[in-house]
Amino acid sequence: MEGKSATASGEAGAVVAGMKVVVAVDASEESLNALTWALDSVIAPRSGAGVSVVVVHAQPGPDHFVYPVAAHGIAITYSPTSAIESMRKAQEEISRKVSATGAIVEGDAKEAICQAVEEMHADLLILGSRGLGKIKRAFLGSVSDYLVHHACCPVLVVKPTKAHDK
């Protein structure tokens, strides 16, 4: 079980020039894609200049019934193990590339992440968005929408790309 995040990760050297990047993940695949994108595009190129990464897992509220991560075959409304599971996956991704700390925030995901970002004095917040299909394209997931409005730092939203046509 991950503890609360430490403000200084294991990064050597200049914390002064370093950028603190917080990546918010939940149990969804989109957020893990966002994490991968963030690592490849933003964090890895900068790792020479100093960057510290905090992965924040937000525990979704009890209105989420189906967890892709839950392996039990039963719809579970609230499963602490999924948090650990997605953190583990996230950490696997990251540890290949850069050192990072993790944190799990509980309670209302959007407010909790917002507060965490403020407390950590993050320089950048990266998150995925659920991308609720073509018809609902007008809406981002409510968590990402809230964070774009309220976070105290720049927010980067990574949309799910259905077809990578590069």
Binding site: W37, S41, P45, R137, V148, C152, P154, V158, K159
Partner: protein, 175 residues
């Protein structure tokens, strides 16, 4: 993976939208300061000049003695020129900022509805990341998001970065 000695910038095409607001220039500077390592040159900078509010121009001539609204072509022309000068000044300023950071830049000026044109341009150029400021005019308030950045957030398929001016300093705290 690639050799750890020299990490290659992975974002091949990054577009920054600027307008006359300080917010967007702040966004450009933020990107140059913090994401320089991730951006492969050239950086694309776009500014969109809104369509001329010709409705106002026509209305201004309703008081003409003949009762026929006459829109002086010189007036329209001078408005267009002014608009172009403004856009060019924005582009020049962006060029200057990028030059200060030593980043090559490619600029484009489009005309039309800013939010739609930005998204269209981002798609046409197949950018990897779109960067926008949070407001185009008015005081920066933490709880609101400007209409252009909001639209881009929802409609662009690429990742979108919204850069706000730091709201912590000098504004009331609503914690």
């Amino acid at each position: 993976m690639a050799s750890p000695a020299a990490p290659q910038p992975k974002l091949q095409k990054v577009m920054v939208a600027v307008d006359e607001s300080e917010c967007s220039h702040h966004a450009l500077e933020w990107a140059l300061r913090n994401l320089a390592a991730s951006i492969a040159p050239p950086l694309l900078v776009i500014t969109v000049q809104p369509l001329l509010p010709l409705g106002y121009v026509s209305a201004a001539s309703f008081g003409s003695p003949l009762g026929i609204p006459v829109v002086a072509p010189e007036l329209i022309k001078s408005m267009q020129e002014q608009q172009q000068q403004l856009s060019q000044a924005l582009i020049d300023k962006a060029n200057q900022i990028c030059a200060q950071h030593g980043v090559a830049v490619e600029t484009m000026i489009k005309t039309g509805d800013p939010k739609e044109m930005i998204c269209e341009a981002a798609e046409e150029s197949r950018v990897d990341l779109l960067i926008v400021g949070s407001h185009s005019r008015g005081p920066v308030q933490r709880l609101f998001l400007g209409s252009v950045s909001n639209y881009c957030m929802h409609h662009c398929k690429c990742p979108v970065l919204v850069v706000k001016k730091q709201g912590r300093i000098g504004w009331y705290s609503d914690n």
